[in-house]
């Protein structure tokens, strides 16, 4: 006969904490169970090991290892040792008595106690504790650990290692990265793609590390992942964009419910400072290009001047006007979709017009300003985003113009006789090739002018985000990515 315990012998585990009125209430019952079951039950105390310490089967679980590994969420919880999914949580006299069917304890255990009393939260769920326990008992991070001496300042160490964009970053400790990873259901080892210029693979964990450094909240993760997926679409041409001597860098425009859920600014100062989501989501992509891709200014990034948007350039569209299609709708999505669009662009050129009250005047005014994209004598080189401010949009909308009407009017205004802009005209050497002097030339290629609305509701100030001179199929095109 084997000395091994028979598989039909039931062993138990009970999880309790002293700082739980329910556990205190059932203390005498726990003593009764302990006496009846002997070494067939282990009683784990999460907080104070002096609680019921006279019992022989009390175990100190103040490190919470057993509670964490058993997935305890409530105390008291009684489980079957071999089938921890079989459990009773809180105090429910009938359920506890049922749990001990076949034991001498059945059916009288807990007689005299109330029928029911809910338990308390397990200490494994205290604020900040799940991440700490995950780090302590699982540590899912595979990235190289960089040890710091106690004398090192962690933020300065990030600078010294070349990990920052010039502003301080949040030091990416394993605990912070685990907290960030909780913002996505994706596996940390999932590869998203290869980041140029080094074409180094990036997985979710590496993305999360850079998101921590940029200052993101975990809830931003799905959008940050989508931003990287968008940047890696072939038609966005991220590699060329990060290398260019021109000004351009990725501009992010967010549409749909995610913009509201994450509080991405589409109102006052939408393209300015002051909103965490705008600041950090855009910054994360730039840090990823730098750290994972190896695209460093002065290295392969050869921008003559760059633009301030290379720190971060991210805003949401104002979607308050239901009859005015959003950028995402222009790209084939609907308003229930959360969509991020990336455009290769640079800083803002204002369009001040406080006099136009008719759509005809305002569209001509906007078209005139759009002529200055890249150079007033260069046509068809760069795409552009026209940002129509809410007050200007109202002028069109109240006159019955649609967004398509505006686009068509501007496009007509931006047809130019070649003879007026070829090289040498006006005493300016720059211009279109001489062979185009008899042609009519459009300022923007077909599909190259996008219209977006954002910003505060007071002020008749629209703006232009001028695009990369390598726009279109030979360079970069606006891309959209649904979450």
């Amino acid at each position: 006969m084997s000395d091994e315990p028979s598989s039909d012998i039931r062993n138990y585990r009970l999880f309790i904490k002293k700082d739980c009125p329910t556990c205190e209430l059932i203390a005498s019952t726990i003593e009764e169970i302990s006496a009846a079951l002997g070494d067939r039950i282990k009683i784990f105390v999460q907080d104070d090991p002096s609680f019921l310490s006279h019992l022989p089967n009390i175990l100190d679980d103040s490190a919470l290892e057993s509670s964490y590994k058993e997935g305890i969420t409530i105390v008291p919880t009684m489980t079957l040792a071999n089938h921890p999914e079989v459990r009773v949580e809180g105090w429910d006299r009938a359920a506890w008595q049922e749990f001990f069917v076949g034991e001498h304890l059945f059916p009288t255990v807990g007689d005299g106690l109330p029928d029911h009393k809910p338990g308390c939260g397990s200490k494994t769920l205290d604020v900040g504790m799940p991440e700490k326990l995950k780090l302590r008992y699982e540590n899912p991070c595979e990235a190289r650990n960089i040890a710091l001496s106690d004398d090192e300042d962690d933020i300065e160490s990030c600078y010294e290692r070349g990990w920052t964009d010039g502003l301080p970053v949040v030091p990416p400790t394993p605990l912070r990265v685990i907290r960030m990873l909780a913002g996505t259901n994706r596996d940390p080892s999932d590869i998203i793609g290869n980041i140029p210029p080094d074409n180094a693979p990036i997985n979710i964990e590496k993305l999360a590390i850079n998101a921590v450094m940029a200052g993101c909240k975990p809830e931003y993760m799905p959008l940050v992942i989508a931003s990287v997926e968008a940047a890696l679409q072939d038609k966005f041409c991220m590699h060329g964009l990060l290398c260019t001597t021109y000004f351009s860098s990725p501009v992010m425009i967010i549409n749909g419910p995610v913009a509201r859920h994450l509080n991405i600014n589409s109102g006052v100062n939408a393209l300015g400072q002051g909103h965490r989501a705008n600041a950090t989501i855009g910054r994360t992509l730039q840090l990823i290009i730098r750290n994972v891709g190896g695209g460093v200014p002065g290295g392969i990034d050869r921008a003559v001047m760059g633009n301030p948007g290379k720190y971060t350039y991210c805003f949401a569209e104002d979607e308050s006007e239901k009859n005015w299609p959003t950028l995402a709708e222009d790209q084939g999505y609907d308003r229930s979709n959360s969509v991020i669009s990336l455009f290769a662009g640079e800083g803002l050129q204002p369009i001040l017009d406080q006099q136009s009250r008719s759509p005809d005047s305002l569209s001509k005014s906007m078209a005139n300003s759009l002529r200055a994209v890249v150079n007033t004598k260069l046509y068809g080189l760069a795409d552009a985003i026209l940002i129509v401010c809410p007050e200007h949009r109202r002028v069109f909308h109240q006159a019955g113009w649609t967004k398509a009407d505006l686009h068509e009017a501007i496009s007509k205004q931006l047809l130019m006789p070649g003879a007026a802009i070829v090289r040498g005209v006006d005493g300016i050497a720059e211009g279109m090739p001489e062979k185009l002097k008899d042609k009519t030339i459009a300022k923007f290629r077909s599909g190259g002018l996008h219209i977006v609305t954002t910003g505060g509701t007071a002020g008749m100030f629209s703006a232009i985000i001028s695009g990369w001179v390598a726009s279109g199929e030979r360079g970069s095109q606006l891309v959209s990515q649904i979450l």
């Binding site: 991070c141 990235a143 190289r144 650990n145 960089i146 040890a147 710091l148 106690d150 090192e152 962690d154 160490s157 990030c158 290692r161 990990w163 030091p171 990416p172 400790t173 394993p174 605990l175 990265v177 980041i195 080094d198 180094a200 693979p201 964990e205 590496k206 590390i209 850079n210 450094m213 840090l287 750290n291 994972v292 891709g293 190896g294």
Partner: protein, 92 residues
Amino acid sequence: MQSPLLDPTSELKPMSREILPRLTTLKDKTVGLIDISKPRGKEFLDQVELQLVSVGATVLRYSKPTFARTAPVELKQQISVECDAVIQGLAD
């Protein structure tokens, strides 16, 4: 002990920072000698200078204001632009 950091890079480069390329000759190179301002440092470095000059190096002499503190940033910057290599007399 403070928490380690997780490497945000592609990890294509080794963890320890690379040292600058070493000089292959001292001939026609400029070597800085830093006196950290401890007693008799000058006499010792005078002898080092003689040896460096004998192999064709040009020697520039510097000194820290006090051995108790790290060199001022200005001094480090000056040496970095004036010299190809630097030798620091560290102790007595």
